[in-house]
């Protein structure tokens, strides 16, 4: 976008590299939770809350005497797993429904449009709070709720991209050749909208991370006691005087992770945009 797009295209920006490194670290923590943070849930009621710097507890402990560092590292799992499933699930719905609605139009298109209107008329986080609070309190129930709430905007995105592809000559020729509509949709159109879908996926992950940790913060996501950054923040709110790190560490982790995902997503969509334009 700046004056020298050629130089910038070849060089990967520093922020993107930093983001990737941070996310790799979070991903490793999420995958190897048992190895990296084996004592995350070990309680020590007699110890109770201690501040940072105590021997064996770099960042201190929480009400239950759990080590903040280990707990925060263990929280990486619910910070990545849920948002990834939300983004993938909502993208799958968006991809199937959006492609069909965009290519075939008709009743499906109309219904998908109204469904999106309905859900987008309310703030997603607010709806998630209401639905997750009343339907059930569990991590994966909340994830499922978020998939339903996130999908309308993905449906719209894919639908728009498909409608843009449909009048192009390659689709018309495919039609003239008598190729089945399902094959046109998913073998001919789909590869051309994949860049948009992929870039949007990352932005959805960041949004889902914020939404899920918001719900956990309100006590609606993960069960009590589970390692989760949102939950830790809620617990740490009472400890700001005794051990502020109990809230600061998970808070900084949420902010950094969400920012890294967004920065990477922005960079990726810029890159893909430029490629589409270049073609």
């Amino acid at each position: 976008m700046s004056g020298s797009p050629d130089r910038r295209r070849r060089r990967i920006p520093v922020v993107a590299i930093l983001s990737a490194v941070l996310l790799a670290f979070v991903a490793i923590c999420a995958l190897a939770q048992e190895i990296i943070a084996p004592k995350a849930l070990e309680q020590d009621i007699y110890l109770g809350v201690v501040g940072g710097g105590v021997e064996g507890h770099l960042f201190g402990t929480d009400q239950l005497g759990r080590d903040i560092l280990q707990l925060s590292l263990a929280g990486a799992r619910s910070a990545l797993a849920g948002p990834l499933v939300v983004a993938l699930g909502s993208m799958l719905i968006g991809f199937l429904l959006g492609t069909y609605a965009g290519y075939r139009g008709g009743v499906v298109d109309m219904l998908a449009g109204r469904y999106a209107d309905l859900l987008l008329a309310l703030p997603a986080v607010l709806l998630a709070i209401v639905v997750a609070g009343l339907v059930g309190r569990g991590y994966w129930v909340t994830v499922a709720v978020l998939i339903v709430l996130f999908s309308p905007s993905d449906v719209r995105l894919v639908r728009g991209a498909v409608i843009e592809q449909t009048p192009r000559p390659y689709i018309e020729s495919a039609r003239v050749l008598g190729i089945r509509p399902s094959r046109i949709m998913f073998r001919h159109i789909a590869p051309n909208i994949v860049p948009i879908v992929v870039a949007n996926l990352l932005l959805n992950v960041a949004f889902a991370l914020v939404a899920l940790s918001s719900l956990s913060y309100l006590g609606l996501g993960v069960p009590p006691g589970a390692p989760d950054w949102g939950r830790q923040l809620a617990d740490g709110r009472q400890l700001l005087g005794d051990n502020p790190l109990a809230a600061v560490v998970p808070g900084v982790l949420i902010i950094l992770t969400a920012t890294a995902v967004n920065l990477l997503g922005d960079w990726l969509s810029d890159l893909l945009d430029r490629r589409v334009v270049a073609r």
């Binding site: 986080v125 709070i129 209401v130 918001s214 913060y217 309100l218 923040l233 709110r237 967004n262």
Partner: protein, 323 residues
């Protein structure tokens, strides 16, 4: 006078108003249905862990009309809601209308302050980044705005509380304060926490709008004719203002989502905190009323934004009327 009533613009306004009402009706049905289907027995919840006789349970069900068929319940609720009567809160036993009204002040003040802050800081910052596109200031501000958009308000809020209230002691930790100035002082941190995400969004929006205008041919022409940069910028800003102003209206929806978490974080007794308590207690009538109220505010704002488009931009007016 007649032209005002019968022209194509009023027809568009009417059509748009009708669509808004339909959308609200559908939303109210959705909200009511969702809560109707929610697991957990409200009547049992209400009686707590006490030993419950079937008679007492039936009595409670009858009092809150929980024993009627779904559509009858919905219709009763909707007709009452239209007149401002949302029933009584199960948790507090108080009528919901006055309950909501007394909590509106704090939420409106916090949200209003946040809105003002994000606009007053976000728009100038957005203009600066657009004009200095590609320079270091632009890159720093754009990266900062990504942080602002990504960071959840409650995490920011807790960090602010820790640094500025507990650490430096510049702001009070909890409470709402008395009087205007004291109230402002108490609401400053919550408003900043809420404004950060919003302001970052305004920066992005303003930057995109101004850059779009700066790339237009008329800017090249104005510069070629020897117009000063300031004079050129004035024309650019006037054109960029249209998408910015109309998008600001849509940010109301965002504010309502964020206010729940901010009020919980700062222990402010506003509508958001009421929503949280009611959801956790399964105080269904209050949740229904609040959700419907938010839906009303958001869709009426969207409607007004559409109308303001018509007022601000003659090109849109012409297009709409021709259709």
């Amino acid at each position: 006078m007649k032209g005002l009533v019968a022209g194509p613009v009023p027809a568009f306004v009417l059509r748009r108003a009708g669509a808004t009402v339909l959308l609200l009706l559908a939303l109210s049905l959705l909200v009511f249905g969702l809560l109707y289907l929610a697991p957990g027995d409200v009547a049992r919840n209400l009686l707590g862990t006490r030993n419950v006789t079937p008679e007492a349970l039936a009595e409670i069900r009858a009092r809150y009309h929980l024993d009627e068929p779904f559509l009858q319940q919905y219709w009763r609720w909707l007709t009452h809601a239209v007149t401002g009567d949302f029933g009584t809160s199960i948790r507090t036993g108080r009528p919901i209308g006055p309950l909501m009204l007394e909590k509106t002040g704090i939420t409106a003040a916090t949200a209003g302050l946040a809105f003002l802050l994000s606009v007053l800081v976000g728009i100038p910052a957005g203009i600066v980044t657009a004009v200095r596109r590609g320079r270091w200031l632009d890159r720093v501000l754009v990266t900062a705005s990504v942080v602002g958009v990504s960071a959840p308000g409650f995490a920011i809020g807790l960090l602010l509380l820790y640094v500025f209230a507990l650490g430096l002691g510049w702001f009070p930790i909890y409470g709402t304060g008395e009087g205007f100035l004291d109230g402002l002082w108490h609401l400053a941190l919550p408003a900043i926490a809420l404004a950060l995400g919003l302001g970052a969004f305004v920066v992005k929006l303003t930057r995109a709008a101004v850059i779009r205008e700066l790339d237009q041919d008329y800017v090249t022409f104005a510069r070629g004719r020897g117009l000063s940069e300031a004079a050129t910028l004035r024309v650019v800003l006037r054109n960029a203002a249209i998408p910015i102003v109309t998008s600001l209206g849509l940010m109301v929806a965002y504010l309502f989502g964020g206010t729940v978490l901010i009020e919980v974080t700062f222990a402010l007794p506003g509508l958001g905190a009421l929503m949280e308590e009611s959801v956790l207690f399964k105080d269904v009538p209050v949740v229904q009323a609040l959700t419907l109220a938010v839906a009303l505010v958001v869709s009426v704002t969207a409607f007004l934004v559409d109308l303001s488009y018509l007022l601000i931009d003659p090109r849109v007016r012409a297009r709409t009327v021709r259709r």
